[in-house]
């Protein structure tokens, strides 16, 4: 691998702290394994490694701290295993709880911005078009590449913090222009415009994209509407939970796809799939493990709920209290905004439990006895059973609110249109 003089000096320990050498060793060795010919400079990172998976990760990050490890570029943190504003909310037992906290603290000490959110792009971290970054958390990776047109691979535990400390990443994959060209067309032009205006369409389409595209870069053609930031967030999260999706072009919407030909770089696609209404319905149904009866909880905010999604929920609820716990996962940036206009109090009055800095599928917060968990998130639906034991039911936000108010499943199927 070709290294610059500076990179080589860090690797040899001639300049920098011991942690700089460790981080450079990890970045260069990972690059060699991936077949990268060089490293590139990066402008920001989003660190996924602050979520506790075992003591070893915490010990590694503490060794970086002891070795003088400091992030060299703006670095936001993904969720941790604890709500730092209400640490008892998670039933994570000792001694794991202590280690989970030590891991989060180690990231703060290395100079990370303590954002603790899986939607940092809604907390002010929005890399500019064309810039090179090293982000973790699959939904954020897909959002950065797709919606913002910045360039990152799917960085995971340890490599993410190593990239942050070196301000370098291996030059491979989606960092390189030639790997960002779509080879698969997903044509949604036959779906009704009304369906494509529904918020709940986006997580479902995302799930379908993940299954159809996997690791392939695809281009979605025929969208015909301008999706909102929250809709694109839901689409990216759905896609990245069912497939190793890093980049989705959407014609007329995303910056690298002003038109179909550009997304394909003027070449013919290897495959075109026409998305039918039935495929959307089948994908929607695959997100539910139950169809009727009572529900035990509602979980919202994967990725983390935005201020506007909270406001939408307040409007839909019209002040009518919930019969089952409604968990809203969100970042502290959103809590601050909700406190400013008294929305936080209104949400709590309805019976909402705010889950800050973390999320219900990564730490035990949902009721200990598994039950039926309703959600409008494809990602929650995907991970619920494996991570929590709760059985998911997917619905629109309006369905979730009505169901929470009645304590049983209420779903308005008309939004999905007739075949």
């Amino acid at each position: 691998m070709k290294l610059s003089d500076e990179e080589r000096s860090v690797l040899n320990g001639d300049i920098g702290e011991p942690a700089d050498r460790m981080a450079m060793e990890i970045v260069t060795q990972a690059g060699r394994m991936l077949g990268a010919d060089s490293l590139i400079k990066i402008e920001s990172t989003h660190i996924d490694g602050c979520l506790y998976h075992g003591d070893s990760g915490a010990l590694f990050c503490e060794k970086l701290v002891e070795g003088g490890g400091k992030v060299k570029v703006p670095s936001t943190t993904n969720v941790g295993a604890l709500n730092l504003m209400d640490p008892k909310q998670s039933r994570l037992p000792e001694p794991q709880r202590k280690m989970a906290l030590r891991l989060m603290v180690a990231h703060s000490r290395m100079g990370c911005t303590p954002s603790w959110t899986c939607a940092p792009y809604q907390a002010g971290a929005r890399p500019r078009f064309g810039t090179q970054v090293a982000w973790g958390e699959s939904n954020a990776v897909a959002f950065v590449n797709t919606v913002l047109g910045a360039r990152t691979n799917r960085y995971g535990d340890f490599l993410d913090i190593a990239c942050a400390i070196t301000a370098r990443a291996p030059n491979y994959g989606l960092h390189r222009t030639e790997n960002r060209i779509a080879t698969l067309i997903l044509d949604v032009g036959r779906l009704s415009a009304r369906l494509k205006n529904e918020d709940a369409f986006y997580p479902v389409l995302g799930s379908l994209i993940g299954r159809l595209a996997g690791e392939t870069v695809c281009v979605v053609d025929g969208m015909a509407t301008e999706p909102t930031d929250d809709q694109l967030k839901a689409l990216c999260a759905g896609a990245a939970s069912t497939g190793a999706v890093g980049l989705i072009h959407i014609v007329g919407v995303t910056p690298e796809a002003p038109d179909l030909a550009t997304a394909l770089s003027g070449q013919a696609a290897e495959e075109t799939i026409v998305v039918s209404h039935q495929m959307i319905i089948d994908t929607r149904d695959s997100l539910s493990a139950a169809g009727q009866g009572s529900i035990d909880s509602v979980a919202l905010g994967s990725p983390h709920f935005s201020t506007s999604e909270c406001q939408q929920l307040l409007q839909l609820a019209e002040g009518k209290k919930f019969q089952v716990p409604v968990y809203i996962c969100l970042g502290r940036h959103t809590v601050e905004a909700l406190e400013a206009d008294n929305s936080k109090q209104q949400l709590e009055d309805l019976g909402v439990v705010l889950v800050v800095d973390t999320c219900i599928v990564v730490t035990p917060i949902l009721p200990a006895t598994p039950g039926i968990m309703m959600t409008n998130s494809a990602k929650f639906a995907h991970y619920a059973t494996g991570n929590t034991g709760h059985q998911p039911v997917f619905g629109t936000l309006s369905d979730c609110v009505a169901s929470a108010q009645q304590g049983r499943l209420v779903r308005d199927q008309t939004v999905w249109g007739v075949q």
């Binding site: 460790m22 394994m33 991936l34 070893s56 010990l59 590694f60 060794k63 699959s138 799917r154 960085y155």
Partner: protein, 134 residues
């Protein structure tokens, strides 16, 4: 018989093969405490990966698998070696970090279409040469 694999992380190993007959993500797929496969419906469900030469035709999903790999090393429940069929950095990064922590490491090699089946006894050397032992 001998095969020459590409070396991602060098080392020596001699152990029985456990071949994973379906794709797996170590995060959510391997219990970092017991080292057992815990992915529902996986053909190797319930089998421990500890001390095996683990042959992995296809990896999927989570980049948190690096953390599970490191935890297996830390708890002394790691496989003896990994034989991947495709270049991938997620699991080897767990091994790289173990090296930085001065914990024991294991060889990680890549051999496309690795033909090894569960129960066979293999030896892997530092240059990536794999030998079937009788």
């Amino acid at each position: 018989m001998k095969w020459q694999a590409d070396v991602l992380f060098t080392g020596n190993a001699k152990a029985d093969v456990l071949r994973l007959d379906a794709p797996i993500s170590f995060w959510g797929g391997v219990d970092p405490v017991t080292s057992k496969i815990v992915l529902a419906n996986h053909p190797q469900l319930g089998l421990p990966v500890a001390n095996k030469i683990l042959v992995i035709p296809q990896l999927v999903g989570s980049s948190s698998s690096s953390a599970v790999m490191l935890e297996l090393v830390y708890k002394k429940m790691a496989p003896q070696a990994l034989v991947l069929c495709r270049r991938d950095a997620i699991l080897p990064i767990g091994v790289l970090v173990a090296q930085q922590m001065d914990w024991p490491t294991i060889p990680v090699v890549v051999l496309a279409d690795a033909p090894f089946q569960s129960g066979e006894h293999l030896q892997i050397d530092e240059s990536g040469t794999i030998t079937k032992c009788d």
